[in-house]
């Protein structure tokens, strides 16, 4: 029997048992669609999160007060006030951390801002003009404050889009004064709407020089976070180690396990987040695989029923000269064709759905969500469905080929 006729025979077999074929394909389609959807959405989420993190710049190193707990039993004290101005002085000393090019102490607080009769609860973010470059933000109008504003503790603010809308309604906020804690701050710039997709929600933020924030708003003598930038990606680990040593010395700490601060690089954050999201994705793939396995058992059932129902046909084919091998190939190919068709339909359906979801997320929720065609899911899907066809179709096909022609012909 030629390959061409093997295919023709198998296709005819599937076509003459149309509804059964469609039901079988459906089982596989659902499994593969689930896998494709999960892998695609997982990759999309991973890209989104990593994009956010890497958007901060991979040469960025953050210093956080206290220890990021590595285990639940590690009861570390939250040294929330451990980062002091003397630390900044120590870090700014080129001899201590030669690879550091810039440094920005930040303070974070929350307060209400008012203009005329309007009040709005805002996040106060104290920083320097480095904010603009580190977070890649450009005002839609006005100019970001500069280093001289920081040095002179100017009462100037950059406000987020939501703050501008709530306080000023349709008025132009530029050069108007808003009131926080009874003090007037002049609006020097307004940020464009960023949407809810970023790690930092700049829309409801009021950004001012950290010196101003510490003196007039939060009243604190410590920093919530120090953000630094190394001269390049490559020297980040060296710079991070130098920062650690410098701060330990500045804080008089000799045992590194007792550090009252944590040095966090974007790379380590990205790695951690990447590990978490991919673990989640593979967990969901495992769940989807169970669906696929159930589909496979369904195929075996249907193929066994098919073999029983078509026993007379098998007997006839054998009587007309079909060899065991011909029958085996026919039924095996039918099973593999069913699962492969199911696989292809599932891949198209799954990636189509993932595309629609990606489109909806980025379009209606203003999330910066990129559609990812899940190649790994597609390859996995096709392979798994073909293997399911071979394995779960193999047993019934063997049963079919082993039948003696006369037993098969006599079968009622």
């Amino acid at each position: 029997m030629t390959i061409r006729h093997l295919f023709k025979t198998s296709f005819t077999g599937l076509r003459t048992n149309r509804s059964r074929s469609i039901l079988t394909i459906l089982g596989i389609v659902i499994g593969i669609t689930a896998i494709m959807l999960v892998v695609s959405l997982g990759a999309g989420a991973q890209n989104l999160i990593l994009g956010e993190v890497q958007g901060l710049g991979t040469n960025t190193i953050a210093i956080i007060p206290g220890q990021v707990s590595t285990s639940p039993t590690n009861v570390s004290v939250l040294y929330s006030d451990s980062l002091k101005p003397k630390d900044v002085t120590a870090l700014e000393n080129k001899a201590n951390v030669p690879d550091l090019v810039s440094l920005m102490p930040t303070v974070i607080g929350s307060d209400s801002a008012s203009y005329a009769s309007n009040d709005y609860q805002v996040t106060i973010f104290g920083g320097t003009d480095l904010m603009a470059s580190i977070f890649n933000i450009t005002p839609s109008e006005g100019q970001f404050f500069d280093q001289s504003d920081v040095d002179s503790m100017s009462s100037v603010v950059v406000i987020g889009a939501d703050v501008a809308n709530y306080l000023f309604l349709n008025q132009d906020p530029l050069n108007q004064n808003i009131t926080i804690k009874g003090r007037n701050f002049r609006v020097v710039a307004v940020l464009p709407k960023s949407g809810g997709g970023t790690l930092f929600d700049f829309d409801s933020m009021v950004i001012m020089p950290y010196t101003t924030a510490m003196t007039y708003v939060t009243g604190q003598k410590y920093y919530n976070r120090i953000i630094t930038q190394a001269s390049s990606d490559v020297v980040v680990p060296v710079a991070a180690a130098d920062i650690k040593l410098t701060l330990e010395e500045s804080h008089g700490i000799t045992d590194p396990t007792k550090d009252d601060f944590t040095v966090q690089t974007q790379q380590s954050l990205a790695n951690t987040l990447g590990t978490i999201t991919s673990a989640l994705t593979w967990f969901l793939v495992a769940v989807a695989s169970i669906a696929l396995f159930v589909g496979g058992v369904g195929i075996m059932n249907i193929m066994l029923v098919s073999v029983t129902e078509r026993t007379r046909e098998i007997g006839l084919r054998k009587a007309l000269g079909a060899k065991d091998r011909d029958i085996l190939s026919q039924f095996l190919l039918e099973a593999v064709l069913l699962t492969s068709i199911g696989g292809v339909v599932g891949i198209i359906l799954g990636s189509g759905l993932a595309f629609v979801i990606a489109f909806a997320l980025s379009h209606f929720l203003a999330v910066n969500w990129q559609f990812v065609f899940p190649w790994s899911g597609a390859i996995l899907g096709i392979t798994v469905s073909a293997v399911i066809g071979l394995v779960f179709g193999g047993y019934p096909a063997r049963q079919a080929s082993k039948k003696s022609p006369i037993e098969a012909l006599r079968y009622e």
Partner: protein, 242 residues
């Protein structure tokens, strides 16, 4: 005397279902000449179907020898038997056994799909010729379900003819047909026997049908009861031949 195409000696077949063995064929010996038209008769359970299945290589005997065309095929394996069934034997069944939802032409071509030596370009021509031989040229592309019982059996005969076999086994070919269609089938079988020299082994329980053949073997309880020549052979076209 012409050469024998079939020679069986002491052919036995028994079935074991758990504890008891049922003897279907208790040991039969006979020859079939090349070009002979033979009928096997007997009541239900006499072993006539079992014998046809053994002769048609659809089943293997428990003991005894079977020479087909001079070769001892008792020890042949599955593939060799499949080859012989495909090339040397043709089958016509009582229940027609055509493929469902398949055209007349495709049904007739089915044995060619399993033949390794007939090139594909000859398939259509061969199938068309076989369909012509049973007078169904106008039904070539009809689905088999659109055909009457008699026509379906003629398709089955065309399918049996398509590989140009030496022997045609017909298992109660008129059993499911009215007398007119049955006569038509017998006429075709007689013509194939006389004009094309095909050896035909027919199973029937109707004496009138059996008398279209040259020779009748009667079975009873798995043994040959009688083996006689038909004196007044019926012709499906006119009353008598010769």
């Amino acid at each position: 005397m012409a050469e024998n195409i079939i020679e069986v000696k002491n052919l036995k077949k028994s079935y074991h279902d758990g504890v008891e063995a049922t003897i279907a064929l208790a040991g039969v010996s006979f020859d079939v000449r090349k070009g002979e038209f033979m009928a096997i008769m007997g009541p239900s359970g006499s072993g006539k179907s079992t014998l046809l299945h053994l002769l048609g290589l659809l089943d293997t005997p428990t003991s005894g020898t079977y020479h087909f065309d001079g070769k001892n095929i008792t020890s042949y394996d599955g593939n060799e038997l499949a080859y012989l069934r495909n090339q040397k034997l043709g089958f016509v069944f009582q229940a027609f056994n055509l493929l469902a939802r398949t055209s007349v032409l495709e049904n007739v071509k089915l044995p060619l799909v399993y033949s390794d030596n007939i090139p594909e370009r000859e398939w259509d021509e061969r199938a068309t010729r076989a369909i012509e031989a049973v007078g169904l040229s106008n039904r070539l592309n009809h689905d088999q379900s659109e055909l009457s019982g008699g026509e379906r059996q003629r398709v089955a005969i065309a399918r049996a003819l398509v590989t140009d076999p030496d022997v045609i086994f017909a298992d109660e070919p008129t059993g499911n047909l009215d007398s007119k269609s049955g006569k038509n089938i017998m006429s075709i079988l007689q013509r194939l026997n006389m004009k094309e020299g095909k050896t035909i082994v027919l199973i029937t329980h109707e004496t009138a049908t059996a008398e279209h053949s040259e020779r009748i073997i009667r079975l009873m309880d798995g043994e040959i009861e009688s083996d006689t020549k038909v004196k007044n052979r019926l012709s499906a076209d006119s009353e008598y031949v010769k």
